[in-house]
């Protein structure tokens, strides 16, 4: 077998798995272990977690019911063991399916199913145990004829748990092997009577539960607590009874009727505990499957005998098949019929899970069956979960369970090569749910049990199932695929950080230690300070903080151009007012900004970064005096903002006043307090914005915004308008609550102010007050936003909250789609959500305001190979480009959250300092996207500097390219200049010297001439 020892990439693993799946054409007992030995990789992309594909044509879409759960006892029926077993809630009427079978056929037509699974009632067909009941035969004939007429394939279960009570009383039920020939006769009667129209027969439904719950634990009828021995005997009889029935069909009816016969076997699934697939855990998982599914499937689909692990475990308690019986039991099913649902998974301690984790993974069960039983055709004869009775017809959660179950079946079919016959959504209508009575519901159609007509209404799952059947699966969406193009040159390629920890202390003692040290001056060979000698220590300077250098070095190495970080308000102003200003802290921040500037990088600085812990990031005295519920905090913030603008303003072009005020208000449990806080936060922001406005020269004015937590909200239930409204309301409360007062929206101009609009949607009895503003305040707020800053991480499903949940500000519940891939902390990866939220904001506030994503990222526990984050950056930035290109969103920046991990590997692009600040693989992805400026067609690197920040000087560019040559050239030039200077100076000195001598000689001559023209005493020296 291939070994998959951590291949480098998930997709490779997927491919290998696919290949593996293709190679597994023939499986045999024990091969199922491969399911755990080669575990499926954790899905990272939407495509990996949810398969968009269709089922093979002819796939048997179906739904089903069982006789006892739905029929009721109308029109004469002998009691079954279940009639005798039920105490408080009976199935005397149940869903009245016996009378309302025509309605049920209409429901099947509504769904568009191709098959209907129902069971025949043994106690109805044989009232006295000997003579068939004509009326019952007629009823089933009518039903089958109608189904055939409507081209719905009848899939008929001969026996679904409702054993006639008389057989229990006289024979002791399935404990006694005298029931085997009785069952054979009954089955033969059914084949003979209905077999001309029925092509799919199921002899019995989930014998495991009959044996264990019915005769072992006593939870099901007939309620016998025979323990393990009882269960083993009953199971032995059930297997032989099935084999008898199959042989009866095979010999007497198959030649004429040409149908197929099988037995429905129930199963669970287990995964190794704690996700570690050690050999011992794999063995226990295999044994757990063998103890439930293998118990029945090994004799029937395998070699005619129980699994070896079961024999070893139960020893002599386990009945044995004789050699003849083995030959006669094996291969007594024409296809595999699987039941996978709550009845098997909810057994709790009664389920032999052997300490492993019970997991509702249908795809793995199907893969296991393929491996263990030589790739049989599989019909999912029962699939689905349950809803609480109170849920009614708006069963939103059930939609997603159905979506996931069916997609797992699709994955098994398409990716693992399981030969699937069909899927039966359980059940068609609500009914009597065995030991749970009427407390849970499993129907696609809601049955009103309080009404005598048992009115049926389609639940939203029925609507969903209808759509899936119509699509024959989940065909791919008409997505525009990859968009090619670049972001503009001035796009903020950012990395976001939280509050920057100020580390004041110089990195090494040598900067504060004035002593002079010397080796060995005391003679003991050590380095000691010389007493009395002191040197002045260095004047403090930014390079003292070496942490800044290394931190910014980390940032710069990502290739990003913009660094977002937050100042620590409580550190700068520990008292909350200007009575004490921590100049050291301000100096530290200034140093950070100066160093950034030196690196030619931009900063986006957050003034107030709230936390959920006690002082909420506020200076302690402000928090003590009421925090954001107190109006004085607004003034305190203004003082603080003014101080920061003054001290750091020259170095910062982009400010965020408050980070995620919409999350901060969540801290207040009371709705009034929430709005009071929101009001003050908005005023604080607007006034801080106005401070910039007052600046003298427009060149100094920085862009100021407040950053909102902006996850996208998708209606949870696509079939309910209340959910669509809830999603809209949710977004209005999340974003509109803060943005509407600041931006006059095109929407508002048309439809009136948000307040009335949003309030109108909230039910009367729990209308929370929105923040209200006076007229002057409103003027102050209006327009006080330079750009829209959004922190986007994920997408949530939104449904209206239950009415009991009072004071919840938006009155919505958030859910997550289980078919989305999700991170370790449960964050769903939904790239298209980013595009949708950008589109929503643009449609509401127009295109004049630039939008900047000031934080976006995902947690990934991998220390270095962070596949999930790599995919996140690729796909989210791709969606950002789509928003720009296709929706014309004025998106101006994207900041990745965040630079470095804390203690645990989470959101960081770098590991924590404790782990040597290692660069994770996603940095390369981000750097590459930045270098290309997006996703250009040619994939080439873009040089943005040309039109970018500073004007080009071509000699500068040339010089940077040829640094060595420049230096050499300069040296040469210098040398040349020096030489020339030397040469000239020599020339000049020399000339001066000779001139001086000439002048001396002529003076003598002149003097002589005056004396009387005497010839010179010395002959004239010739001039050179």
């Amino acid at each position: 077998m291939l070994e998959l020892d951590h291949p480098p990439h998930h997709r490779v693993q997927w491919l290998l798995l696919l290949c593996l799946a293709c190679c597994w054409h023939r499986g045999s007992a024990g091969d199922g272990r491969h399911m755990w030995q080669n575990p499926k990789p954790v899905p990272v992309t939407l495509e990996e977690s949810f398969l968009h594909d269709t089922f093979p044509s002819g796939f048997l879409w179906g739904s089903g019911t069982s006789a006892f759960q739905t029929e009721g006892s109308r029109d004469g029926k002998a009691p079954s063991v279940w009639d005798n077993f039920t105490r408080f809630e009976t199935a005397d009427v149940a869903s009245d399916g016996y009378a309302r079978w025509e309605e049920d056929v209409q429901e099947l037509e509504y769904l568009g199913v191709k098959s209907y699974t129902f069971s025949l009632s043994w106690s109805r067909l044989f009232l006295d145990g000997i003579h068939p009941n004509e009326r019952a035969v007629e009823h089933y004939n009518r039903l089958i004829n109608k189904l055939v007429e409507k081209r719905i394939e009848p899939v008929v279960t001969v026996h679904h748990w409702d054993l006639p009570l008389v057989l229990q009383k006289e024979h002791g039920g399935w404990k006694n092997d005298t029931l085997i020939p009785l069952f054979e006769d009954y089955a033969a009667f059914c084949f003979r009577t209905f077999g001309d129209r029925v092509k799919y027969w199921l002899t019995m439904h989930n014998p495991y539960l009959v044996a264990v719950q019915g005769y072992g634990t006593g939870v099901h009828a007939p309620g016998e607590t025979g323990g393990l021995a009882g269960s083993l005997t009953v199971a032995h009889n059930l297997i032989r009874a099935h084999a008898k029935a199959w042989h009866a069909y095979n010999t007497h009816f198959r030649p004429t009727q040409r149908g197929k016969v099988s037995i429905v076997l129930g199963s669970h699934w287990v995964e190794p505990q704690k996700g570690q697939s050690s050999a011992a855990d794999v063995e226990l998982c295999q044994q757990s499957m063998e103890a439930v599914l293998g118990w029945f499937a090994d004799p029937i689909f395998g070699d005619g005998d129980y699994p070896a692990s079961l024999k070893a475990r139960h020893g002599s308690l386990l009945p044995t098949f004789s050699a003849r019986e083995k030959l006669w039991v094996r291969k007594t099913a024409d296809f595999f019929a699987l039941s996978f649902g709550p009845n098997n998974l909810r057994l709790g301690r009664d389920l032999p899970h052997y300490g492993q984790a019970v997991t509702p993974d249908m795809r793995s069960v199907l893969g296991w069956i393929k491996l263990e039983y030589d790739d049989p055709q599989v019909l999912v004869a029962e699939g689905g979960w349950f809803s609480e009775a109170s849920v009614g017809r708006e069963d939103t959660v059930a939609i997603y369970l159905m979506k996931r179950f069916i997609n797992q079946v699709l994955q098994a079919a398409r990716l693992d090569g399981v030969r699937l016959l069909g899927y039966t959504a359980w059940s068609l209508v609500d009914g009597f749910e065995w030991n749970y009575g009427y407390s849970v519901r499993r129907g696609l159609f809601y049955v009103d049990f309080s009404r005598s007509d048992r009115k049926r209404t389609a639940k939203t799952t029925a609507q969903y199932y209808k759509r899936v059947i119509a699509d024959n699966g989940f065909p791919g969406l008409e997505t525009p695929g990859q968009v090619e193009g670049r972001f503009p040159c001035d796009f903020h390629w950012g990395v976001a950080d939280s509050t920057l920890q100020a580390r004041f202390y110089p990195f090494s003692p040598q900067f504060i230690d004035p002593h002079v040290y010397s080796w060995n001056w005391t003679g003991d060979g050590s380095l000691r300070p010389i007493p009395g000698e002191k040197l002045p220590t260095n004047r403090s300077q930014c390079t003292d903080y070496l942490t800044i250098g290394s931190h910014l070095h980390l940032f710069a190495s990502t290739g990003a151009s913009h660094y977002r970080f937050a100042l620590n308000w409580s550190l700068i102003l520990p008292h909350g007012d200007l009575s004490q200003v921590n100049t050291e802290a301000l100096r530290y921040y200034r140093c950070v900004l100066t160093e950034l500037k030196k690196l030619d990088l931009e900063a986006l600085v957050i003034l107030y970064y709230p936390t959920h812990k006690a002082p909420l990031g506020l200076p302690a005295p402000l928090h003590a005096s009421g925090g954001w519920l107190n109006h004085s905090t607004v003034d305190a913030f203004l003082e603080y903002a003014a101080l920061c603008y003054r001290e750091l303003g020259t170095l910062v072009r982009y400010w965020i006043t408050i980070n995620e005020p919409n999350r901060l208000t969540d801290i207040y449990s009371d709705g009034n307090e929430q709005h009071q806080a929101a009001r003050h936060l908005l005023l604080a922001h607007a006034r801080a914005w106005r401070l910039q406005e007052k600046k003298s020269s427009p060149r100094d004015v920085a862009s100021v915004s407040l950053a909102l937590h902006a996850d996208w909200a998708e209606p949870a239930n696509p079939f309910l308008s209340s959910h669509t409204a809830a999603a809209e309301r949710f977004l209005l409360f999340e974003l509109g609550r803060f943005l509407d007062p600041l931006l006059r929206t095109p929407y508002e101009e048309k439809h009136g102010p948000l307040e009335t609009k949003a309030r109108a949607r909230v039910p009367n009895h729990q209308r929370p007050p929105l923040p209200t503003f006076t007229k002057t305040e409103r003027e102050e707020l209006n327009g006080a936003l330079s750009f829209i800053a959004l922190n986007h991480f994920t997408t949530r499903l939104v449904s209206p909250g239950p009415p009991s949940q009072h004071q919840k500000h938006h009155d919505c519940l958030t859910l997550s789609d289980p078919t989305w891939p999700s991170s370790g902390l449960g964050q769903a990866l939904v790239p298209w959500g980013l595009r949708k939220v950008l589109k929503w904001v643009t449609e509401r506030y127009g295109r004049t305001q630039p939008i900047i994503i000031t934080a976006s990222g995902v947690d990934d526990q991998a220390p270095v190979e962070d596949n999930m984050r790599q995919h996140y950056l690729q796909s989210y930035l791709q969606e950002a480009l789509k928003a720009r290109r296709l929706d014309r969103v004025n998106l101006q920046g994207f900041y990745v959250w965040k630079l470095q991990d804390g203690h645990l590997p989470q959101y960081g692009l770098f590991t924590s300092t404790h782990r040597q600040s290692k660069a994770k693989a996603s940095i390369d992805v981000y750097r590459q996207i930045i270098a290309r400026g997006g996703f250009p067609e040619d994939g080439g690197v873009r040089a943005c500097g040309a039109q970018g920040a500073w004007p080009v000087c071509s000699p500068c560019v040339w010089m940077t390219k040829n640094k060595a040559l420049t230096v050499f050239g300069c040296c040469l030039l210098l040398l040349a200049v020096l030489f020339t200077a030397l040469f000239f100076s020599v020339m000049v000195t020399r000339r001066r010297y000779t001139k001086g001598r000439m002048r001396g000689a002529s003076v003598v001559r002149r003097r002589r001439r005056r004396r009387g023209g005497r010839p010179p005493l010395f002959p004239r020296r010739p001039l050179v």
Binding site: Q276, V397, P509, E660, R663, R796, Q861, G902, C956, L974
Partner: protein
């Protein structure tokens, strides 16, 4: 003449008044970067004429000598004030501490008295660590010998870490998801709270 040469030199400097990123700065060439984050990381090697060993501190707090470098002998030396350092095991996260007897142990919380050491650099490149409070040297020798001067294994050489990066932690175990099998919300769809990563993670 001298002045003019100086002028030329300053002109030479002027040429390089380019943005800092374009100058001759070579990243990480700063010798002080070794003192990055005030922490030096390495193994402490000590020897006598017969054997050499590394100081190691296991998870249970025992301090011993190891012939080879182990994850437990990887130590972090952090200066806490001029000449004084704290020593912390990288894997065990324990501080190296000593008592008045001079015997060594690892403990989880740092106490100024027991866990700070004077770092004495010797002329031959070795280092001696003396307990700042008790004045006893850090030594891997057994404590029986009473003569303080004669205690061997007190001179340490800080050596670079040569251990291969830990491969085991590279692939975290598959996250285990708990399914509430008795709930209609089998897959935990409703366990979605409106938290922002800005508020919920350790910052």
């Amino acid at each position: 003449m001298f002045w003019s040469a100086n002028n030329i030199f300053s002109f030479f400097l002027l040429i390089f008044q380019l943005p800092t990123s374009l100058t001759f700065y070579i990243a990480d060439s700063n010798p002080l970067l070794a003192f990055n984050n005030q922490v030096r990381e390495g193994h402490l090697y000590t020897e006598n004429h017969r054997r050499g060993m590394y100081l190691q501190m296991t998870q249970d707090g025992r301090v011993s000598g190891s012939e080879v470098q182990t994850p437990y002998s990887l130590l972090q030396l952090q200066s806490i004030q001029p000449g004084h350092i704290a020593i912390k095991g990288q894997r065990s996260s324990l501080f190296l501490c000593t008592d008045s007897e001079g015997s060594l142990r690892g403990q989880t919380h740092f106490s100024e008295d027991d866990c700070s050491f004077k770092e004495l650099l010797l002329a031959d490149g070795y280092t001696r660590f003396l307990s700042a409070h008790h004045g006893l040297p850090v030594s891997l020798a057994s404590r029986r010998s009473s003569d303080r001067q004669a205690i061997p294994f007190t001179r340490f050489l800080p050596l670079k870490d040569t251990l291969p990066a830990e491969a085991a932690s590279e692939h975290p175990p598959k996250p285990e998801i708990y399914f509430n099998l008795d709930s209609e919300d089998l897959l935990g769809m409703g366990q979605n709270s409106m938290l922002s990563p800005h508020f919920s993670v350790d910052n």
